[in-house]
């Protein structure tokens, strides 16, 4: 382990003991909450917009604002995911599965509390890992080649296809459909155009956030429209005691720890990000036996796992950024620009030459997570009031937010039309009992799986055995096979 000297820690901490700096972190978290919660806007967009504003600011102020937005944005996407089944960001899509069911069952308060505390635990754990083992983890991440990335992608996809509920075959079909959507556009290896039906707007592929809005929000909007006639009102929202929520974390301490480590570990790997981390952790949570009530009304374990992993990515993604100069996710890619504005080049010498700045980054991340906890727990009783809006008013509002949020991403009207088509297709699949989660994850992981499969095979003389003989890759593939077998066995047992 590479520990930071105590004197350096004290130096870094003393420079943060300024009310103005704390205020900047608070402002950053608030801006991040707004960007994260608004469908179509993400933490990446928030950080990108705020970066030019830091030209005249000091290093501490600039990092306080940007890291506040980073952490706040990653958490806030869970709020619309839980309340209206519209993930604010791709990383919060897994949270929508159980969170929305809990909200519909009158437990929105508890679902939001779980998301807030899980985000806090995930964020803090990743900061601790960053503090203790940043260089060691960065060396480990460098050992990942195309072979390991392919196996990691396949493992994530198979986990979700197998545990997303219902038939394994339907889960796999949806994963394949997602991969198919992900392969539309320009071939990532050879650069050839494919499956675009000569539509120029499809050259860039199916954009992720509009697809996410279509498959979760539009599909749910249509589903709710079909249910309004049944006269089935929502139950009264229950007030959840904080002690009960904390007891849930105590009961699931190993899942929480495992999810935090999954999030940090995946954050360390360049080019991954919170979406993959959240889904893999969600897959882990779904392995446990679920009661009929948990299947119908949402399982707190799903929220704990996905939100812990989602926010644990924040610290994890900083590891390759600060130790190797390689961004771990999209936000850290933008943060490189912010560091360069300050005249700092992240890389192998950053910790040696600017150890105090490294400590400041750690502490800002920790304080930002603390603010998320305070603001999130403070607002958890007010936010569920959204669910009291009658469906005849809420459904069109969701529709308008879907369209406006989609348009806001790139100001492209084609993407608005795309959500209507994908949303209607998703609704059709839903009616036939196909799950949405593998479809979305296939879209996210498809390009990663394809690129690394082709690169891995090409680099190893087209020998497919390389995926089994490399230890990390072989372990991941064995895990994927075991997950499918276990899911099939569980399905048979239930059938009996």
């Amino acid at each position: 382990m590479d520990l930071i000297p105590l004197s350096l820690f004290i130096d870094g901490a003393s420079s943060l003991a300024s009310p103005m700096l704390l205020l900047w972190i608070f402002v950053g978290v608030l801006v991040g909450l707004i960007f994260g919660a608004a469908p179509g806007l993400t933490a990446t967009a928030g950080v990108a917009i705020a970066t030019p504003l830091t030209f005249g600011a000091s290093f501490e102020t600039s990092m306080a604002l940007l890291l506040g937005i980073y952490c706040g944005g990653y958490f806030a996407g869970s709020i619309p995911a839980i309340l209206i089944n519209t993930p604010g960001a791709p990383g919060n899509a897994a949270t929508a599965l159980d969170g929305y069911r809990m909200a519909r069952a009158g437990r929105a308060d508890q679902a939001l509390s779980l998301a807030v505390i899980a985000s806090f635990i995930g964020g803090i754990t990743s900061v601790v890992v960053l503090m203790l083992a940043a260089p060691t983890l960065a060396d480990f991440a460098l050992r990942f080649t195309s072979v390991e990335y392919f196996s990691l992608g396949l493992f994530g996809l198979v986990c979700i296809a197998a545990v997303s509920g219902g038939s394994v075959t339907k889960g796999v079909i949806c994963a394949l459909l997602g991969i198919l959507l992900g392969s539309i556009g320009i071939d990532p290896v050879g650069g050839m155009t494919r499956l675009t039906a000569d539509i120029p707007d499809l050259l860039g592929g199916i954009p992720l956030i509009p697809a996410l809005i279509a498959f979760f929000a539009v599909t749910e909007m249509l589903n709710q429209a079909s249910l309004t006639s049944s006269g089935d009102p929502l139950p009264v929202q229950q007030v959840s005691r904080l002690a009960t929520t904390i007891r849930l974390f105590a009961a699931n301490k190993w899942l929480t720890l495992k999810s935090a480590l999954i999030g940090t570990g995946i954050g360390v790997l360049p080019g991954t990000g919170p979406t993959i981390a959240a889904w893999i952790a969600f897959g882990e949570s779904a392995r446990a036996e679920q009661s009929e009530d948990e299947q119908k009304n949402g399982n707190p374990r799903g929220i704990i796992a996905s939100e812990t992993a989602n926010n644990a990515v924040t610290g994890g993604a900083m590891i390759p950024l600060l130790t190797l100069g390689i961004p771990g996710d999209t936000v850290t890619a933008v943060l490189i620009g912010a560091l360069l504005i300050q005249g700092i080049t992240p890389g192998p010498f950053f910790m040696l030459q600017s150890g105090d700045l490294f400590v400041q980054i750690l502490l800002i991340l920790a304080v930002a997570n603390l603010f998320i906890l305070i603001i999130g727990l403070g607002a958890r009783r007010i936010l569920p009031s959204i669910l009291n809006i009658p469906p005849r008013i809420l459904i069109p509002i969701i529709g308008v937010l879907c369209v406006t949020g989609t348009f806001a991403i790139n100001n492209v009207t084609f993407e608005v039309m795309l959500i209507a088509i994908l949303g209607a297709s998703g609704y059709l699949l839903l009616c036939f009992g196909f799950p949405m989660a593998p479809l979305v994850l296939g879209l996210v992981l498809g390009p990663m799986i394809e690129t690394n499969l082709r690169n891995g095979l090409t680099a190893n003389e087209l020998n497919p055995m390389i995926f089994l003989t490399r230890p990390i890759s072989g372990t991941l593939l064995a895990g994927a096979v075991l997950t499918v077998l276990w899911s099939w066995w569980r399905g048979r047992r239930r059938g009996q």
């Binding site: 608004a38 219902g166 038939s167 075959t169 339907k170 796999v172 079909i173 394949l176 991969i179 198919l180 392969s183 071939d187 290896v189 050879g190 650069g191 050839m192 155009t193 494919r194 499956l195 539009v218 909007m221 249509l222 589903n223 429209a225 079909s226 249910l227 309004t228 006639s229 469906p391 005849r392 008013i393 459904i395 069109p396 509002i397 529709g399 308008v400 369209v403 406006t404 348009f407 806001a408 100001n411 009207t413 608005v416 039309m417 959500i419 209507a420 949303g423 209607a424 609704y427 059709l428 839903l430 009616c431 036939f432 009992g433 394809e450 499969l453 082709r454 095979l457 090409t458 087209l462």
Partner: protein, 146 residues
């Protein structure tokens, strides 16, 4: 009936997979790439879809509920989907404030809203507040006539 719907879905997936497999032959390939071309991965996916389609058609799960299939022919859902499609298709041509107000009004009517105050105020408030939020807070240039 539910097993039949799985067989139908499996058949559709099977046909889709075959169509995709045929479609991959039309994908242009880079002359410099000899082995793994742009066709390689879509071909793998199409073979996977064919296999899964066959499996679903041959061994339907039959776990669907009556409510999920009945949603398919639900009049309110179909009308809401149609209105949403019209809203999306006309988004670039119609003033955002007008189009949004009309969309909210018609969907509310379809979903059973009949109180005049509600039908007048809600579309206006939703349209104005979303426009102001995105135009001035998030700086998004929404389509407008004036």
């Amino acid at each position: 009936m539910f097993r039949l719907s799985d067989r139908l879905a499996g058949g559709a997936v099977l046909l889709g997979g075959i169509a995709l497999l045929a479609g991959t032959t039309f994908i242009d390939v880079n002359a410099l790439q000899s082995d793994l071309t742009a066709r390689f991965f879509p071909t793998l996916v199409s073979l996977g879809l064919i296999a899964c389609g066959l499996l679903l058609a041959a061994r339907p799960s039959g776990r669907l509920t009556a409510s999920s299939l009945s949603s398919l022919v639900n009049q309110r859902a179909i009308l809401t989907a149609a209105l949403f499609l019209v809203y999306c298709l006309t988004f670039r041509h119609v003033d955002f404030r007008l189009g949004t107000a009309l969309f909210v009004l018609t969907v509310m009517w379809v979903l059973g809203a009949r109180r005049p105050i509600e039908l007048i105020l809600t579309p206006l408030l939703v349209s104005a507040s979303v426009f102001l939020l995105f135009r001035y807070a998030f700086n998004v240039l929404l389509p407008v006539w004036i």
